[in-house]
């Protein structure tokens, strides 16, 4: 009888002790992104290299075992990304998946990670839904989002006196939401939206749209589109002489690699918001030079963000002494992001990493001292002003 009691209480003790035992198994990180398509330059293998650098800088080991890194190309296909992410989480013991280009992929992996209490580290998905209705207690959104881009660019320019806007919008959800967010900010600041024209995705000929933009006589033309569409619009606006006749272009989503592709001649005077510029201070230059040596180009905000996010994640796991999601997330929120990217930024409860954003102007060919010397930072946008306030996001588990 007594033996039974002892056994039972020992068993109870064992069971209750179960969940609180720290999970100190080896840490494994996956980088899942587009490595062969549209976004291969701005994330791709560059992000993988950035992740590798983060692991090296952290020391390469955690809980006495080497930190493993795997990577895969999802070709911007949500079904392929979902297969790989599920296999990584379920079979390969991957703890965190980072990068996640393309919003369909980002949202899909966010769901998978939430269900399994694993970490989703978004550094390339632009959609602000990731910290809004699709937020997750184990999902973090690191580098930028559509709200910050629209908000930063519109606010600064209207304040500067560029108060009439016309939009060139890619005719799908991403373009519409950029146009809506930017337009709302323009009007809130006292500016006026004179009109908008929608163009199909992957458009080659912007002439008729640019004529309409010209005819609107707006001071600003907002490009609510991305990648090749933005580049084509910029090139053709240059040919039409829109800029030389006094209208200015604002790109709402553009990366430094895009500027490199299109050239300063066409892109000069363009205004855009970015989460990172390599030539901003001593620390960013030091890291970016290292990256440049390994990859042969300067990092985009996605690649720098991937480094920063993974390093912060590893530090948080170390500080928590366990991989238990709740404890790690608590540490991630408690610790400041004190590296060249975060600059003392912090992680909000809804998963948003709040850090300074930069409003930049693309230099004229004469001002640039060499390759990659493209931006002039015209304004540092404080994080709390740049990102959407938490109460407006609609993240379900956040109590307001």
């Amino acid at each position: 009888m007594r033996l039974g009691l002892v056994c039972a209480s020992a068993l109870a003790l064992l069971l209750s002790a179960g969940p609180s035992v720290a999970d100190k198994s080896p840490v494994k990180i996956g980088v899942l992104n587009d490595q062969s398509g549209l976004y291969a330059d701005l994330s791709g293998l560059g992000s993988v290299e950035a992740a590798r650098m983060a692991i090296e800088d952290f020391g390469g080991k955690l809980f006495g075992a080497p930190i493993e890194l795997v990577h895969a190309d999802h070709k911007n296909r949500a079904d392929l990304a979902s297969t790989i992410a599920r296999e990584w989480f379920d079979n390969s013991k991957v703890d965190a998946i980072a990068d996640l280009t393309a919003s369909s992929v980002a949202l899909a992996v966010q769901e998978l990670a939430r269900e399994r209490s694993k970490f989703a580290i978004h550094t390339s998905g632009a959609t602000s839904r990731l910290t809004g209705d699709a937020c997750s207690p184990t999902g973090v959104h690191w580098a930028y989002d559509t709200y910050a881009l629209a908000n930063g660019t519109a606010r600064a320019l209207v304040a500067e006196g560029q108060d009439t806007w016309f939009f060139l919008t890619a005719d799908y959800a991403f373009g519409h939401s950029l146009e809506k967010d930017t337009g709302a900010m323009v009007e809130k600041m006292g500016g006026k939206v004179l009109g908008a024209v929608r163009h199909p995705l992957d458009n080659q000929d912007f002439s008729s749209y640019l004529m309409q933009a010209q005819a609107s006589k707006s001071k600003m033309i907002g490009l609510a589109n991305a990648s090749s569409d933005t580049l084509n619009a910029i090139r053709q606006a240059k040919e039409f002489g829109l800029v030389s006749m006094g209208q200015r272009l604002a790109a709402l989503l553009l990366f430094i690699t895009d500027i490199h592709a299109v050239g300063l001649e066409a892109a000069q005077e363009l205004v855009l918001t970015t989460g990172f510029y390599w030539d901003r201070d001593e620390k960013t230059r030091a890291w970016s030079e290292r990256f440049n040596k390994r990859r042969g180009h300067m990092p985009t905000m996605i690649q720098a963000g991937t480094y920063s996010a993974i390093l912060h994640f590893l530090k948080a796991v170390e500080a928590a002494g366990t991989k238990e999601p709740k404890a790690v997330m608590e540490k991630m929120r408690a610790m400041r992001v004190d590296d060249f990217f975060g600059n003392g930024g912090y992680l909000r409860e809804d998963g948003r990493m709040v850090h300074d954003m930069y409003l930049v102007r693309v230099k004229k060919p004469g001002q640039s001292k060499g390759p990659w010397d493209y931006f002039e930072v015209i304004r540092t946008i404080p994080g709390d002003e740049a990102f959407r306030p938490m109460k407006d996001g609609g993240c379900k588990y956040v109590k307001n």
Partner: protein
């Protein structure tokens, strides 16, 4: 005279025996294959297997049209994707149960197939391919624009739900057996269609349409019926994919998906019953397990496809069948 009769009888009997033997061999093979599929999830990751099965069904549906009907549709992603979107929307927003969602998706694709098929079978060859491609592009842009598809975000977090209200489909293993059942059903439909008088007429039309017309067959009806069956099964595959991945995205209606199913079918063996299945295994395996190679994967796939087209045009299964026959 009597000798000749006896000979004829003997050969008839042996022919019958051979057919019986082949039939028995086929049954044994089918039983082994099904058994292997039932055991497979214990050895291989079930989600991966489900993806293979969904694509295999899609390719089988496509093969029915191309391999047996001789009609090259270049826009089969339209049926696959339409069903996926309809299933995802009805399950997530309307709250339908999974089986009704599957049914709704399949019906929508069949209906779309009826309309597109009715218009496109009036032409043959490259014109037919172009018309189907044009319709597929229309569907793509519709999916890009329509509010219910959520544009490039896709319909996300579709619940797997409970089959018939009782069987919880959330565990991967349970869902695997549902997907396997769907695949076997689709495969059986294709098999029965091919091995029926209908299928024989279809082959006749493929080989020589004017002669089939001269024999009194209304060939356009046969072609349309095949088109609709193919579209419906492609739709079934698409709707099943939604249950597996819990999402419907633009990839499903993109022309690349149409191209991929052509590659699967040709690689595995056009006009063979098992070809599309083998082709789907090869392509999906390469895609998933060589994903770390990035852009190299496209080159590898391209090289394999080129080798297949240049060296063994009958595809993997086609060449295997030939070799086996030589051995026997």
């Amino acid at each position: 005279m009597a000798e000749r009769e006896a000979y004829a009888l003997r050969s008839e009997v042996s022919g019958w025996e051979a057919r019986q033997g082949a039939e028995r061999g086929r049954l044994i093979f089918a039983a082994i294959a099904v058994l292997a599929l039932i055991c497979a999830p214990f050895a291989v990751y079930p989600v991966f297997l489900m993806k293979v099965l969904c694509f295999a069904l899609f390719a089988c549906a496509f093969n029915l049209l191309l391999g047996y009907g001789g009609l090259l549709s270049f826009g089969h992603a339209a049926y696959y994707g339409t069903a996926a979107y309809i299933a995802a929307h009805t399950i997530k927003v309307w709250g339908l149960s999974p089986e009704l969602g599957l049914l709704a998706g399949t019906l929508a694709s069949a209906l779309l197939g009826l309309v597109v098929g009715w218009l496109s079978i009036r032409r043959a060859g490259i014109y037919f391919a172009m018309i189907t491609l044009a319709f597929a592009q229309m569907i793509y842009f519709f999916a890009l624009q329509a509010p219910f598809t959520k544009g490039e975000d896709g319909i996300q977090a579709v619940p797997r739900g409970y089959l018939f209200g009782v069987i919880d489909l959330r565990p991967d293993l349970t869902l695997y057996y549902l997907i396997l059942a769907i695949f076997l059903f689709g495969f059986y439909v294709v098999y029965r269609t091919i091995h029926s008088p209908f299928g024989l007429v279809l082959k006749a039309i493929r080989e020589n349409e004017p002669r089939a017309i001269s024999l009194g067959y209304r060939t356009e009806r046969f072609k349309l019926a095949t088109f609709v069956v193919s579209a419906a099964l492609a739709g079934l595959a698409g709707a099943a994919t939604v249950l597996v991945f819990q999402l419907a995205s633009l990839t499903y209606v993109h022309w690349q998906t149409s191209g991929e199913v052509v590659i699967m079918t040709l690689l595995g063996g056009m006009g063979t019953i098992l070809g599309p299945f083998v082709g789907a295994i090869v392509v999906v395996t390469l895609q998933t397990h060589l994903a770390a190679f990035g852009a190299w994967l496209n080159i590898i796939l391209g090289a394999i496809f080129l080798a297949c087209v240049l060296l063994f045009r009958e595809g993997i299964v086609g060449i295997a069948q030939k070799r086996l026959k030589k051995l026997l």
